[in-house]
Symmetry: C2
Subunit: 338 residues, 2 copies
């Protein structure tokens, strides 16, 4: 029952093993010159007391805490999670622990967290968020390295790792061209949203390279299924025929898919469909499953964490780094045989 009263200290271990604290420390860390018998005796004592060295006291001496802070500027969401997990994974392998801070879009809260993290002497900070848009630097000259992941910093001197959304959009269009579609529409999120603009521009550019025009100007709206459904109405009402739709998100794509089916158009036979995000719930829930662009957020997070680790070890890599997207092909663009 009950919990052990307090944590064992190295003094307890030393006493039990009948040596001095210094010797105990050396024994446990493989330093100094000690008899093997002494080492094992100390190790045994430590085991018996389930001794775990106090990391705080240790870092007091070493100057490093082996912790990093992770701040999500807006609420932790669908996009931050994989980034976060990738980072946590990469950092965990380097024996670093992660402080999680949820900024909730509140600059005050954010600054409070920065202060707290600094007082905890984190070795570095990762900043992430829910949109790729550039944001203000969290602090002009902090005493520790900072890496922005997914989101990017407005200060070009900061290190940011962002998805190559333009590249992803180009891959989507390229794939549609490769499966023989030429009358392509684009339905995407709100125009004030950076991602929507970037993806749309890249898609148009790739079409132009193939000497094609979109069947209609890009349709900007929202990121939701409802907008996808609505957009199909607009497309069908227009006089132009279309044989493919590249959507700015999987949710939009799913709405488009449902509406097309309701209107009697078959996917992919009549209209091929590509989404963006590769969100399993949507890609697998849609009928047929959706081809989609995957931003590899987990990889991005891992990569950001690795950059942070390098920066901590002295080699910073300032600037904006684009992490490649990849296309995941499913039945919404491939006409089944027979």
């Amino acid at each position: 029952m009950g919990r052990p009263e307090r944590h064992a200290t190295i003094a307890d271990v030393a006493a039990l093993a009948g040596v001095s604290v210094g010797t105990a420390s050396k024994a446990l860390n493989g330093r100094g010159s000690l008899r093997e018998e002494t080492r094992t005796r100390v190790r045994e004592a430590a085991r018996q007391l389930s001794f775990q060295a106090n990391a705080g006291a240790r870092s007091l001496h070493s100057g490093r805490t082996y912790t990093v802070g992770m701040i999500t500027t807006d609420t932790i969401g669908r996009f931050s999670i994989p980034v976060l997990m990738g980072a946590e994974d990469a950092l965990g392998a380097g024996e670093m622990s992660v402080f999680l801070c949820d900024g909730r879009d509140d600059p005050i809260r954010e600054q409070y967290y920065v202060k707290t993290l600094l007082s905890r002497r984190v070795d570095g900070i990762i900043v992430t968020g829910r949109r790729t848009e550039a944001r203000m630097s969290i602090g002009p000259n902090l005493p520790v390295p900072v890496v922005y992941a997914f989101i990017s910093s407005a200060d070009p001197g900061d290190c940011s790792v962002v998805p190559d959304e333009a590249g992803g959009a180009r891959k989507a269009v390229e794939h549609l061209l490769a499966v023989g579609r030429t009358r392509i529409a684009h339905v995407t999120g709100p125009e004030h949203h950076n991602s929507a603009r970037v993806r749309a521009a890249a898609a148009l550019e790739r079409l132009a390279e193939a000497e094609l025009e979109p069947v209609a100007p890009p349709l900007f709206g929202g990121w939701s299924e409802a907008w996808g459904r609505q957009a199909v109405g607009i497309l069908l009402a227009g006089r132009a025929e279309f044989d493919a739709v590249f959507c700015g998100s999987d949710q939009i794509a799913r709405g488009v898919s449902d509406a097309l089916r309701a209107a009697g158009r078959r996917v992919p036979q009549d209209v091929a469909l590509v989404g963006f995000d590769n969100w399993d719930v949507m890609t697998e829930g849609a009928q047929p499953p959706l081809t989609s662009v995957d931003m590899d957020l987990e990889g991005l997070g891992r990569s950001a964490a690795e950059m942070l680790l390098s920066a901590i070890n002295g080699t910073a890599s300032p600037g904006r780094h684009e992490h490649p997207c990849r296309l995941v092909v499913r039945e919404s663009t491939i006409v089944p045989l027979a």
Copy 2:
């Protein structure tokens, strides 16, 4: 450019203010008896050096770190996030920082994290996961309090905060009865899954209290939309008529909704539909929007964190605590007027 070389220490502050370290400390913490002028002089020096007391050094003295560890036993997912955020919120208000650890269903990894957290001298640990099922205690007698959130511990001496899934299921059925439905079916997840069994049993029980039988035995399958669609096939093939389906998840409900529409049954006129989880993507994406049971995971997380704080302060509340669910009514159960 570059970063400030190192963190200022209280010794730097003291030197700049022309006082001793002890005095500086007192000035900054409002202890001891000092002239107001001295205090402001020290504070000014601290501001100038942007001094932030080293939390590690401080906790060495106080014995408390004001940090807690948060372990997700399986991967951080849709269910852990809100729990996590609620907890982070409650803890942040108490000035505590959170270490995030992703156990990934790997007991080795998990034990490693427990060790790490203990070495970091966290004041407490919250354990969460993706299923409500009881799991083994993460450690029989750890030196710090532990609270299980969402998931529960197999050891009844541990403190667990779990959603009242049975209560939620009862509310769902009650609502269907209240809107006049009597021929109710239940489609849910795999039978080996604790949540599926508990919810099904509670639903049946509530029906029995109204002296009703379900129109068919509960249909156990998966949690997916695909299963929902498939289940509709089974129900329609059966000879029994039904006027409502209570689904074990929103994804199932959405599948059911789509399949019913495809089969020409109107929701809610012909069949009323209730889901579980109140997952916005599904409830809003479905047509019409879904009535659903909300487990209030954020509230649950907050509540767990509060229990942890009490435990840290000496008043533990061992045992299993059920957090109430609430029903969110939408158009899938309410027939529109005229």
